[in-house]
Amino acid sequence: MELKDLPYFFSLPKQEQKIALEALLFTMEEPLDINRLMKILASNESNSADEQDIIEYELLDKIGFNRDYVRDIINEINNDNSDNDRPFRILESGGGYSLVTSRKYGKIVGKINKNVVRRKLSNANLETIAIIAYRQPISRPGVESIRGVNSKEIINGLIDKGYVRIIGKSDAPGNPYLYGTTVEFLKAFGLNTLEDLPKLKELKELGFTEAEEAGFTLRIEMEEETKQIEEENVSNDNEYED
């Protein structure tokens, strides 16, 4: 058996591989663990990283392109960057590799900038807070059924940011927590009360068609559920208020 095409990354000269890998990590939305990283590097123009069965790891391994090779490259990048007093390093933490500032320059940047950091909420954050705002009280499974992805980290992050809080427990199996928005959320989004949220009617103008009906169904279901929960959880409610 022969490799049909060498994956693009491995076809680059070694020096370019190093620079490209640093640039790749710069553009990533999350830390990459070695498996995922290997998948991306081994993918070809003809097969994306998600069609992993097509990737011929064994053949790549035979010509020396395996995980250890990639780990070595990462070490070399870090050594080069250290030798040349570059401010970036590849760090393995939080479940994978990501590009961060070196300790030295991290410290220097900390001294230069002691200010309020301006950020944007990520789309995932914005979407999740929107769902919680419109559908509260809503459980994590409820949020996930709309987003279609695991939302544990996101919800916890929103709680840390002070935009979301636990407002009760559902009587659905497993008694998941129910989440709602906080006063901080209202302030951040310039709303006085939840009543100020744009109405579904306005959503219609935005091009809701079939999806709107799905939204309605969800909402009606939730409202019924909510009523029940409210009745049962009046006392619970107070426990979670700050």
């Binding site: 914005l126 989004f189 709107e212």
Partner: protein, 236 residues
């Protein structure tokens, strides 16, 4: 087999600008008859090829025919005896405005291309030690995010939604033939007057088909303001 190349025009203005450029016409003095003819044949070709024919093209066809008809009349004067403005003025302004944007679009395409490979950093970790202000927190940002989420939820089953017009072209063909045969002849613009857009679109499509299949016949009296629809003369 013919291989037919039809450029994909963004809309009726785009198509008209194409004719104007191709034939080196003066945009401020558009020969309406000629361009209406061109436009209608394009529309007919689209129809013959069973291409999805946007209502906007039909609407433009009737606008052109309307302007053409008005130009044939003696120029009306207002109470001061001044000539009322050229019926083409509004169309010309729209065409110019569209052309203005279209030319800007070319520059934008180049800038887009030039910036395609600048990528930002996307992962900033969870360092929340510093005080953070979020800059994308408006009511509308929230609304948009919610819409995106719910849209996606339904995306799997969502199909292309076609706006339903309460009358079909087939029905309207029958209706037109019936009316024309009963009345002998009808005036096109009269017939379309005050009707909803969907009705006009469907009627126009029906009319085009009837003309093509020679079930109806249109004439235009130079002295007259409207197009006249009449039954085809049966020569047998």
């Amino acid at each position: 087999m013919y291989r037919i190349h039809l450029p994909n025009f963004e809309g009726p203005f785009d198509l008209l600008l194409y004719f104007i450029r191709r034939d080196e016409l003066d945009i401020y003095d558009i020969p309406i008859s000629r361009i209406t003819e061109e436009f209608l044949s394009y529309v007919r070709v689209m129809k013959l090829l069973d291409l999805e024919l946007a209502g906007e093209f039909i609407l433009m066809a009737s606008t052109l025919m309307y302007i053409k008809a008005r130009l044939l009349l003696p120029k009306p004067k207002d109470e001061n005896g001044d000539e009322i403005e050229d019926p083409r003025t509004e169309l010309v302004q729209k065409l110019l405005e569209y052309k203005q944007i279209k030319e800007a679009t070319e520059d934008m395409r180049i800038s887009e291309e030039n910036n395609l490979n600048y990528h930002e950093r996307n992962y900033f970790g969870n360092d929340e030690s510093a005080e953070v202000v979020y800059t994308n927190t408006t009511m509308f940002d929230l609304l948009t995010a919610f819409k995106t989420a719910v849209d996606r939820l339904d995306n799997a089953v969502q199909e292309h939604v076609v706006e339903l017009i309460p009358i079909s072209v087939e029905e309207q063909k029958e209706e037109l033939v019936k009316i024309v045969n009963m009345k002998g002849r009808i005036k096109f613009l009269d017939f379309m007057k005050d009707k909803p857009k969907a009705f006009i679109v469907v009627t126009f499509l029906a009319l085009l088909e009837l003309i093509r299949s020679q079930e109806l016949f249109i004439t235009q009296d130079d002295l007259f303001e409207d197009i006249i629809i009449s039954p085809t003369l049966n020569l047998n």
